[in-house]
Amino acid sequence: MESIEQIKLRIEQAIPGVILEIIANGSPGNPASIRVDPEHALAVARFLKDDGQLRLDYASNVTGVDWPDKVAQQTVKVLKMVDGVEKEFDAKVETREPGFLEAVYHLYSMELKHGPLVLRMRTGDRAGQTHLPSLTPLYRSADFQEREIYDLYGIIFDGHPDLRRLLMWEGFEDHPMRKDYAEPDDYEFEPTAHNQVLAKARRHYPPKASNG
């Protein structure tokens, strides 16, 4: 397969207005990845799939990654007037880098037997702007995997034919794979008819004082 820089150049030539960025990989011997802006992602994927030299017809692995807001504290020297004398104080300044959710696609070619090309997309933030375009219209293999990302990370894939929760149940509200997910301590408790029986029994047999 061509180098990732060449692929980036060719995509930029083929699709005007596309914004691409090569994300380096710190692990030696492993491929870097290309970040695509969500507006052009479907066009880029179609180009990669139909291009004669690439023919990336097989989306092997589709997954999400959560990057929470980064809060960095820095200590800054601040000058303050105390009793008419200028003194230096330490002050803490918080810098906040907004987090985002990421969808990662590993594309291979079954026809030409090469790969992978790693494609990434990022959402605007983690709360309101969690929409990304779905690649399921191009790759059926993304169908269940995008549903899983929607379920566990909360990325909403526009254009997905059947976006429902995959593993968690209907009516479950949170997204368990997010880094800040806190497990509720009682979600397995469900009032059943048996609880009524127990409550009734307690009236007739008051619990004895615990003796260990």
């Binding site: 011997g29 692995n61 079954m110 059926r140 293999s141 593993l167 209907e170 368990p176 794979m177």
Partner: protein
């Protein structure tokens, strides 16, 4: 190309297409169609679903019109657990993914970590990995064929024939790892312990005897009239759809696509062995069954070569840290050709002792993408057979 089999041939719209609860298979029946369709729920305790798996099936008479698989009964968020533990801490947990093939699960995870951290594997360990992986393939395929025949109604006997052979292999796994199914045998940079004395001789004997079982099984199956009537032309998967839907493993090759990761990636030392990749011509259930028989014969070829060539030496790279193992920040995707499919692990490190992102590519789940396409237009009794020929393990589907 864009919408291969996306909608069923019959023009029924499902309620709640899109996000949100309240999904129902059949939205509303028009008055003239009232009573035409029957919606049944197969599973999650149905014995043919090989675990806790449910299918919502819409029937017109006996013909399947729509089918939606429902997952999550065995979900324990394996990935989240792995992100909270050390790299090595997830190794025994990978056994529980596809509990038939714990050796290959171990290998896939070890391979991903080795790629991430740039660890090399000693020669002898590579051979041990190939030998155990191919033995896993033998027992998986044998058991699958037994289960598929059981789904067809051949209660007991063929499955017990397969289990008899599987037990011999599991005995050898127990001798090498201490456990029949949950082997937890491989480590980053090699294997946990060396083979016990006499193990290789036992394995050579097993490999020599195994073709006898295959011949027996083949005589039982090939050109069996009932089998051909029930399997041929049932659940046909086209090559284009198989590639597009990311179907891998024997199911893909039964549709005639030549893609075997042992040949494509040459991971481990697979480039040293001579073997062929069997391909199917029709992509139906019969091809899927018979392809596994052929794959077992190829596995035996690999095993014979590996058992002859295996050198002596260390089984684990002594430079690899077992404790306080912290790879450099980066990411890696390692994949192997498991007995059932392409099993991949996607790991992201942030330099700490536990992975920042740990992802299992669940091939059982992805192969089920096409289940609806295979079943539409077939009889409800064939749904069981088609699901059996896909060969899933729910421990991996739900993770």
């Amino acid at each position: 190309m864009a919408d291969i089999g996306m909608e069923s041939a019959v023009g029924i719209s499902a309620a709640g297409d899109g996000a949100g609860p309240g999904y129902r298979l059949l939205a509303k029946e028009s008055p003239e169609e009232e009573g035409r369709f029957l919606e049944i729920s197969m599973g999650p305790q149905h014995p043919s679903t090989h675990g806790v798996f449910r299918m919502d099936v819409l029937l017109d008479g006996e013909t399947v019109v729509r089918l939606k698989p429902v997952f999550g009964y065995l979900h324990r968020n394996h990935e989240k657990i792995a992100e909270g533990t050390t790299y090595l801490g997830s190794m025994p947990y990978t056994d529980r993914l596809d509990y038939f093939n714990s050796m290959t699960n171990n290998w896939a995870y070890a391979l991903a970590v080795e790629k991430l951290a740039g660890i090399s594997v000693p020669e002898r360990a590579e051979y041990i990995r190939v030998i155990t992986a191919e033995m896993t393939r033998l027992q998986n395929h044998a058991t699958l064929m037994g289960f598929l025949l059981q789904d067809l109604g051949a209660m007991g006997t063929p499955l017990m024939y397969a289990f008899r052979e599987r037990e011999k292999i599991l005995d050898l796994f127990e001798a090498v790892s201490g456990s029949r199914m949950m082997c937890n045998y491989m480590r980053f940079g090699g294997c946990r312990v060396d083979l016990p004395s006499g193990w290789l001789e036992e394995t050579v004997r097993l490999v020599d005897e195994f073709p006898g079982f295959l011949d027996e099984f083949e005589a039982l199956l090939a050109e069996n009239e009932i089998l051909m009537a029930r399997l041929q032309g049932v659940g046909v998967l086209s090559a284009a759809l198989a590639v597009n839907a990311g179907v891998t493993g024997p199911m893909l090759r039964a549709s005639g696509v030549n893609y075997d990761i042992r040949k494509v990636d040459h991971y481990g030392i697979y480039d040293r062995f001579k073997f062929r990749v069997p391909l199917g011509a029709h992509g139906d259930c019969y091809d899927r069954l018979m392809l596994r028989l052929l794959e077992m014969r190829e596995s035996i070829k690999i095993l014979k070569q590996a058992l002859k060539q295996i050198p002596s030496g260390p089984v684990i790279d002594p430079k690899v840290k077992i404790r306080n193992f912290k790879p450099k920040p980066g990411e890696a995707y390692g994949r192997i050709e498991g007995p059932k499919w392409e099993l991949g692990f996607y790991l992201m490190s942030d330099g700490s002792a536990s992975p920042y992102r740990y992802r299992v590519r669940p091939p059982s789940l992805i192969n089920l993408t096409v289940l609806e396409d295979l079943c539409i237009g077939q009889k409800v009794a064939d749904v069981v057979v088609i699901l059996g020929s896909v060969d899933i393990v729910l421990g991996e589907v739900d993770r």
